[in-house]
C-alpha cells in the first residue's frame, strides 16, 4: 500500500503542491516566529552577559514592585559603597574599591534637525547611565574621545552617533526629567562589540550629573562590585553580606543578576511571542480547511480507483491508510520546506515589525532544536489530522462504485456520517443530546426521514455553534480570554459544518444580478483608481529617473507595476461580474452551488481571515468612536501637549514644561498628567496624577464632591465610582498602597469621580505631591491647557509652541489634532494586525485556487463540451473567475457576520474598560468585501488559465 501511496502522490503533483503550499505557509509563520523570538532572546542574553561581565556581586534593595514595565526596586543609599569597601575580596583599582553605584534614567537625545532620537514608547529605549569609573565593571569601550569629567559632558553610544551624525565636540540637546539642557559630546563608545546595546540610544553622564538628573543625591539603583582575582562570586557575596548587615538590602552574585535580567526579558518577550504565535496558529487553522478540502475532493475524484482497490481485495483500513499516508508524506515534506522558509521569514517579520515602529534588536539567526521539532510535528500532525475525515470517507467507498459509469459527474462522495455504524450514530446522538436537547430531536427526524447526512450536519453544526458561542460569551463576560479563543475556534468549526447548507442557498443569492451589478460598478471604480495610480506612479517614476534618483524611480516603477496588476485584476473582476448577467456567469454560479461542501469549506478558510479582519476593524472603529466621544464630552482644554510619537509607555516630558506653560500670560489653567503603576489593595494598578483642581477644570471627571476632589491632599486617593462600588470602598476608608520608592503607604479614599477608565483615563487618581514622593521619575505624559478668556486660539498656540519648542518630543495639539493622534496610534496597531492576518488570507486564497484547480480537473469533459459548442477562452475564464468571486463573497459575508457578532459581544464586554460605543465602519467593511473579490480573481488566474488552455479534443474524450 505504501508504494501505492507514493505513486498516488507523484501522479498528482500539482494538487498536492498546492496543499503543501498551504501547510508550508502556516508552518513557516510558526517557525519564523520561533526563530525570531529565539534570536531576540539570545541577543538579550548575550547583552546582559556582557553588561554584567565584570560584576561579581550586586547590592540592591530587597523590596520590589512588579509593574507593567518590569520589576522596580527602591533606591539604596550611596554610603553603602564605603561599607562594601571594607569587605575582603573586593578588587581595587588605583587604591579605590571596585564598587560602582548605578543609576538608570530616561534621557533622550535630540538629533541635529531637532527630531528626538529613538522612541521609548514603542521601540528603542532611550536611557541614561553613569559612566563607570572602573574598566573592570564597564561594558562600554570608548571608540573616540574620552570619559565625561564635567557635569555638562556626556558620552553617547556609537549607534546613536552614527544615526545622528554627532561627533566628539558637538553640543547636543538632551531631554530628561529636568529641564532640557545642552551637553557636550566628549566621547563616543561602543557597547562590547556592538554599536549600541540592543538598539537602545544611550547617554552616559558623570555620576554627579546622573544623580542630579535622577534627583537621587547620595542614592543609587544598585551597586556593582568587582571581586579580586581568585575570589569566587559566592564568596564575595558572603563577605559583603557580613560587612553590611542591613534590612532591605540584598546582595546577589553577578551570575544571578544576569540570569534575573535574562528571565525578565524572556517574560516580556513571551507576550510578544504569544502575540505572533496567535497569528501563526490562525494561519495553520486556515490551512487545515484547505488540507481537508483537498483531500476530500481528491477522495471524491478517486472513488473509482478506491472502489477498484476494494474490489480486488484491499480492506477499508488499507484504503484509509493509503490516504493518510499521502497526507503524512505531504505534511512532512511541506513542514520541512516551511521550516526553511520560516528561517527566512523571521527576518521579514522583524522588518515588518520594524516598519510599524517596533525596533527589535536581533543579530544572526537562532535555530533551536525545539523550533525544528515543533515546526515538523505541528505541520505533519495538522496535515494528517485534517486528512482523517476524508480518509474515513475513502474507507467506506463500496467496491461496487468501481462499476458505476462515472465517479466524477456531480456525484458526491459517500457521507462521513453514513459510513458510521448505527451504534456510533446513536452514541453521537446521545452526546449531542447532553448539550442541546433539540439536537437529538433533529437527529431523530433525520434518521426517520433517512436524510441522516444533511440534517445530522445541521444538528451537529448548530450544536457546535451554540457551544462555541456559549464559550465565547462565558469567556468574555467572565474575563477568561483563553475560553474566548477556544470558543472562537469552535464557532468557526460550527459554521464550517453548517456551511454547505448555507452555501447552497447563498451562492445563488451571491451570483444574482444586484450583487453582480455592485461588483461590476465597484470593480469599474477600482479599475479607474488603480489605473490612475499606475499612471501616477509611472509619471513620478519617470520624473525621479530624470532627477537622477534611481532608487526612488525603481521603487515607484515597482509600485506602478503592482498597481497595474491590481488594475488588470479589477478589469477581470468587472468582466467576470458582467458575465454574471450571461450564461457563462450563470454557469459559474451554478458550479459554486453544485458542490456545496466544497464551496463551503473553501469559503470557510477565507471566512476565518475575514472574520478576524472585520473584528479588528470593528473594535478599532468602536474604540476610536468611544475615545472621540469622551474627548468631545469631557475635554475642556483648548490645547494638549502630547508626545510626537504617540502612545504612553516610557515617553513624556519634564514637569518643567507644564510649569512653563502655566506661567504663560495667555494661559488660564494648565496641568501635566502623569501615569504610574502601584500596588493597590494587593494588585498592580495603573494610576494617574495631576493637579486635581486644574484637571477637573480641563477634563470633566464628574467628581461626586467637587470640593473634596479638588482639595485632594497627600496620602489621599480618589477612585472611580465603579471601583468604589466594586470594592465597597467609602470615603474615609484606607487603601494599602506600595509604590516604586518602597515601603507601604496607607492612602485614604477622599473622593470619588464618575469618568474613570471608561473615559480613557484611570480608575485611580492621586495628587502630584503623592506621586512625586513615591516615584523615582517624574514625567508628564500629557499637558492640558486652557486659554484665558479673550485670548485667540492662534495667539495661544503661538505662545505655547514657543515654550514647547525645546522639548523636541512634544507637540501642541488642539482637540481635533489630539483626537486624530489617538486614532492614528490605534490605526497603526490595527495595520500591524492586518499585516499579520494577511498570511491567513493568502492561504485562504491558495485554497480557492486549489479548489478551482481540482474542480476543473473534475469538469474536464464539461469544459471540453462547452468549448466545443462555442464557449470562447475568455468566456471560460470569466466562468471560473465568477465562481471564485462567489466562493470569496460567501466566505467574506460569513466572516463579516461573525466579525460583527463577535465585535458586538466584545464591545459589550469591554464597556467597563472605556469602549462603550459599538461603531461598525460600513465603508471599511464594504472595502473588505471588494478586496476579497479582487483576491479571488487574482487567485483564480492560474486555474482559469489552465482551464482555458485545455485541449478541446482531449477534454471531450477524457474518461
Amino acid at each position: 500500500m505504501l508504494k501505492l501511496t507514493l505513486k498516488g502522490l507523484f501522479a498528482h503533483k500539482l494538487r498536492f503542491a498546492l496543499t503543501a503550499l498551504a501547510v508550508m505557509l502556516g508552518v513557516s509563520f510558526l517557525s519564523g516566529t520561533l526563530v525570531l523570538t529565539d534570536t531576540i532572546k539570545r541577543t538579550f542574553d548575550e547583552l546582559f552577559a556582557d553588561v554584567n561581565k565584570g560584576t561579581d556581586a550586586y547590592v540592591r534593595s530587597s523590596e520590589k514592585l512588579d509593574s507593567h514595565l518590569g520589576t522596580i526596586r527602591p533606591r539604596i543609599p550611596a554610603s553603602l559603597i564605603s561599607e562594601i569597601a571594607k569587605s575582603e575580596g573586593v578588587a581595587r583599582q588605583h587604591g579605590s574599591p571596585v564598587a560602582q553605584g548605578q543609576l538608570q534614567l530616561s534621557a533622550q537625545l535630540v538629533g541635529k534637525s531637532g527630531e528626538p532620537v529613538g522612541d521609548p514608547g514603542q521601540g528603542a529605549p532611550t536611557l541614561g547611565f553613569i559612566w563607570d569609573d572602573f574598566r573592570q565593571l564597564s561594558p562600554w569601550k570608548l571608540d573616540t574621545g574620552r570619559a565625561p569629567r564635567a557635569d555638562d559632558e556626556v558620552v553617547i553610544d556609537k549607534g546613536s552617533a552614527d544615526k545622528t551624525g554627532y561627533k566628539v565636540g558637538d553640543k547636543v540637546q538632551i531631554l530628561t526629567q529636568v529641564a532640557p539642557a545642552k551637553y557636550r559630546v566628549v566621547g563616543i563608545a561602543k557597547f562590547g562589540r556592538a554599536d549600541s546595546p540592543g538598539g537602545a540610544s544611550v547617554t552616559l553622564f558623570t555620576r554627579e550629573q546622573a544623580q542630579t538628573i535622577a534627583r537621587a543625591r547620595n542614592q543609587f539603583d544598585g551597586i556593582a562590585v568587582g571581586g579580586q582575582a581568585g575570589v569566587s562570586q559566592a564568596d564575595l557575596v558572603k563577605r559583603i553580606r557580613s560587612s553590611i548587615d542591613l534590612p532591605k538590602i540584598q546582595v546577589i552574585t553577578g551570575a544571578e543578576l544576569t540570569k534575573e535580567n535574562q528571565n525578565e526579558i524572556q517574560k516580556s518577550l513571551s507576550f510578544f511571542n504569544t502575540f505572533l504565535l496567535i497569528f501563526a496558529l490562525v494561519a495553520l487553522f486556515v490551512s487545515c480547511f484547505i488540507i481537508f478540502n483537498t483531500f476530500s475532493i481528491v477522495v471524491a475524484q478517486r472513488t473509482k480507483e478506491m472502489a477498484l482497490l476494494r474490489a480486488i481485495g484491499a480492506s477499508g483500513r488499507q484504503v484509509m491508510s493509503s490516504v493518510l499516508g499521502e497526507s503524512l508524506v505531504v505534511g512532512f515534506l511541506a513542514s520541512v520546506a516551511g521550516l526553511g522558509v520560516g528561517i527566512v521569514l523571521a527576518g521579514g517579520l522583524k522588518a515588518l515589525l520594524g516598519s510599524f515602529g517596533i525596533d527589535i534588536p536581533a543579530g544572526g539567526t537562532v535555530l533551536n532544536t525545539r523550533t525544528v521539532v515543533v515546526a515538523l510535528l505541528v505541520g505533519t500532525v495538522v496535515t494528517v489530522a485534517s486528512a482523517i475525515a476524508p480518509s474515513l470517507r475513502a474507507s467506506v467507498v463500496p467496491p461496487i462504485a468501481a462499476m458505476r459509469a462515472s465517479a466524477l459527474e456531480g456525484t458526491e462522495s459517500p457521507s462521513l456520517l453514513s459510513g458510521l455504524s448505527r451504534s456510533t450514530k446513536i452514541i453521537l446522538g446521545v452526546l449531542v443530546a447532553i448539550f442541546v436537547p433539540g439536537g437529538v430531536i433533529i437527529l431523530l427526524i433525520a434518521w426517520l426521514s433517512r436524510k441522516v447526512s444533511w440534517l445530522g450536519r445541521v444538528a451537529l453544526g448548530l450544536v457546535v455553534l451554540t457551544l462555541g458561542a456559549a464559550a465565547i460569551l462565558v469567556g468574555l463576560f467572565g474575563g477568561r480570554i483563553a475560553l474566548v479563543g477556544v470558543g472562537a475556534v469552535v464557532v468557526f468549526v460550527g459554521i464550517a459544518l453548517l456551511g454547505p447548507v448555507i452555501a447552497r442557498r447563498t451562492s445563488r443569492l451571491l451570483g444574482s444580478k444586484p450583487v453582480a451589478m455592485f461588483v461590476l460598478f465597484a470593480g469599474a471604480l477600482m479599475t479607474l483608481a488603480f489605473g490612475l495610480a499606475t499612471v501616477a506612479s509611472l509619471v513620478q517614476s519617470a520624473l525621479a529617473l530624470f532627477g537622477g534618483k534611481i532608487g526612488t524611480a525603481l521603487a515607484l516603477a515597482a509600485a506602478a507595476a503592482a498597481a497595474a496588476v491590481l488594475a488588470a485584476a479589477c478589469v477581470n473582476l468587472v468582466v467576470a461580474a458582467r458575465a454574471a448577467f450571461r450564461v457563462e456567469g450563470r454557469l459559474g454560479t451554478q458550479n459554486a452551488e453544485r458542490n456545496p461542501n466544497r464551496t463551503a469549506s473553501t469559503a470557510a478558510a477565507l471566512m476565518i481571515g475575514v472574520a478576524l479582519v472585520a473584528l479588528i476593524t470593528i473594535l478599532a472603529s468602536s474604540t476610536k468612536a468611544s475615545i472621540g466621544a469622551t474627548i468631545d464630552k469631557a475635554f475642556r482644554a483648548d490645547y494638549i501637549v502630547a508626545p510626537k510619537a504617540g502612545g504612553f509607555g516610557g515617553s513624556g516630558f519634564s514637569p518643567e514644561l507644564a510649569t512653563a506653560v502655566k506661567a504663560l500670560p495667555e494661559i488660564q489653567t494648565a496641568t501635566g498628567l502623569r501615569f504610574g503603576t502601584a500596588e493597590l489593595d494587593g494588585k498592580s494598578k495603573f494610576l494617574i496624577s495631576a493637579d486635581p483642581k486644574a484637571l477637573n477644570e480641563l477634563f470633566d471627571l464628574q467628581p461626586a464632591n467637587t470640593t473634596a476632589f479638588e482639595n485632594l491632599g497627600p496620602d489621599q486617593i480618589a477612585v472611580s465610582k465603579r471601583i468604589a462600588k466594586e470594592k465597597g470602598w467609602k470615603v474615609g476608608d484606607t487603601v494599602k498602597a506600595r509604590f516604586p520608592n518602597g515601603g507601604t503607604t496607607d492612602l485614604t479614599v477622599a473622593a470619588k469621580f464618575g469618568v474613570g477608565q471608561q473615559g480613557g483615563l484611570s480608575d485611580y487618581f492621586v495628587s502630584l505631591d503623592t506621586f512625586s514622593r513615591n516615584y523615582p521619575e517624574q514625567f508628564d505624559v500629557q499637558v492640558y491647557a486652557k486659554l484665558k478668556p479673550g485670548v485667540s486660539l492662534a495667539a495661544g498656540k503661538l505662545a505655547m509652541d514657543r515654550v514647547v519648542k525645546p522639548y523636541a518630543n512634544a507637540k501642541v495639539e488642539d482637540q481635533a489634532g489630539f483626537k486624530a493622534k489617538q486614532e492614528q496610534s490605534i490605526d497603526q496597531f490595527v495595520n500591524l494586525i492586518y499585516a499579520l492576518l494577511f498570511l491567513a488570507v493568502i492561504i485562504a486564497g491558495i485554497g480557492i485556487a486549489n479548489t478551482l484547480a481540482l474542480s476543473i480537473v473534475e469538469r474536464t469533459r464539461e469544459i471540453g463540451l462547452l468549448r466545443a459548442v462555442g464557449m470562447t477562452r475568455s468566456q471560460l475564464k470569466s466562468t471560473i473567475r465568477w465562481e471564485a468571486v462567489i466562493i470569496a463573497l460567501l466566505g467574506t459575508v460569513l466572516g463579516l457576520v461573525i466579525g460583527l457578532v463577535f465585535g458586538w459581544a466584545i464591545v459589550r464586554a469591554l464597556s467597563d474598560q472605556g469602549i462603550n460605543k459599538f461603531a461598525p465602519p460600513g465603508a471599511q467593511l464594504v472595502v473588505i468585501v471588494l478586496i476579497a473579490a479582487l483576491l479571488a480573481v487574482l487567485f483564480a488566474y492560474f486555474p482559469a488559465r489552465r482551464a482555458a488552455r485545455l485541449d478541446v479534443l482531449k477534454a471531450i474524450s477524457t474518461e
Binding site: 454557469l587 452551488e593 464539461e862 462547452l866 466545443a868 459548442v869 462555442g870 464557449m871 470562447t872 477562452r873
Partner: protein, 253 residues
C-alpha cells in the same frame, strides 16, 4: 486509392463542407502515424452523410478536423467558403458556436443547466436570443416539450441525446456533426434519435455528417463514405443496413 468522391447530386446542390487533400500526421520518423492521408471529400448541403470505417481508420479525426475541433497538418478544410485551416483558435471557436452543431456519443450536456438552457447554450454564449418559433418546432420534433426544465441527471439516456440533437438544431447551423450519437443507447432510443436526424435533413433542410460503427445507423444516411488507413476507400449511396454490413465485412480481407 485517393479518390474525389463525387455525389451525382452535388453538381446542382451547394457544398456544405469539403476537405481538400487533407492530411493529419502524428509523430515523425519511425513513429509517424498518418491519421488522414491526403483525403479529399465533399459534403453536400441538405444531405445526411455517414462516415464508416474500422477503428483507427481516421474517421473520427476527419470529423474533428471538419468540425474545427482539430487541425489538419496538410491540405485544406472548407466550411462553405471559409477555409478553416487558416482560422485561429478564437475564430474556430466562433465558427463552432455559430455555424456548427454537435452531437457526441456521451456527455453531451452541461449537468448544471436544464434541458432548455442546454439547447440554447450556443446562442446564449453568442449573446443571441433564440428564434422562438424555431425553438418550439425543434423541441416539438424531438418530443421534449414537457422536459424542458429537467436537469440532465433527471433525463434518460435517450432523452439526453434528444436534448443534444435539439441543441445541434436550435441554432440552425450550416452543418451538424454527430459522433456515434447512438453508441450509448438501446436500439429503440437509437432509432428514435436517428429518426429525428433524418427528419432534420428532410423537413428542415439541415446538413448532417455522422461517424458511426453501426450499419443500421448508417442506413439512415443518404450516403456512406468508407475510410481505411486515413484514406477514402469507398462510398455508397442510399445504403441499407445489409449492404453496409457486407461492405464492412470486406474490410477484413
Amino acid at each position: 486509392m485517393t479518390s474525389v468522391a463525387s455525389d451525382p447530386r452535388s453538381a446542382p446542390t451547394k457544398v456544405a463542407a469539403r476537405a481538400v487533400n487533407a492530411s493529419k500526421i502524428y509523430g515523425s520518423g519511425e513513429a509517424e502515424v498518418r491519421a488522414l492521408d491526403g483525403i479529399s471529400v465533399e459534403f453536400a448541403d441538405c444531405a445526411f452523410t455517414a462516415i464508416m470505417g474500422p477503428s483507427g481508420s481516421g474517421k473520427s479525426t476527419l470529423l474533428h478536423c471538419l468540425a474545427g475541433l482539430d487541425r489538419v497538418t496538410g491540405g485544406q478544410i472548407f466550411l462553405g467558403d471559409v477555409e478553416m485551416s487558416s482560422a485561429n483558435e478564437k475564430q474556430l471557436t466562433l465558427i463552432r458556436r455559430d455555424r456548427i452543431g454537435f452531437v457526441f456519443q456521451a456527455f453531451n450536456l452541461i449537468p448544471t443547466l436544464d434541458a432548455e438552457e442546454n439547447i440554447t447554450l450556443p446562442m446564449a454564449l453568442a449573446g443571441r436570443k433564440p428564434d422562438k418559433e424555431w425553438f418550439d418546432t425543434v423541441v416539438r420534433t424531438v418530443g421534449l416539450a414537457d422536459r424542458l426544465h429537467h436537469r440532465p441527471s433527471e433525463l434518460s439516456g435517450g432523452q439526453q441525446q434528444r436534448v443534444a440533437v435539439a441543441r445541434a438544431l436550435a441554432s440552425k447551423p450550416d452543418l451538424i456533426f454527430a459522433d456515434e450519437p447512438t453508441g450509448n443507447l438501446d436500439s429503440h432510443a437509437g432509432a428514435e434519435i436517428l429518426g429525428f436526424m433524418r427528419r432534420a435533413v428532410d423537413d428542415f433542410r439541415q446538413t448532417i455528417v455522422m461517424v458511426t460503427h453501426d450499419p443500421v445507423a448508417a442506413s439512415y444516411a443518404d450516403r456512406v463514405v468508407f475510410l481505411a488507413d486515413g484514406k477514402i476507400v469507398d462510398e455508397m449511396l442510399d445504403p441499407t443496413a445489409d449492404l453496409v454490413l457486407d461492405r464492412l465485412k470486406n474490410f477484413g480481407e
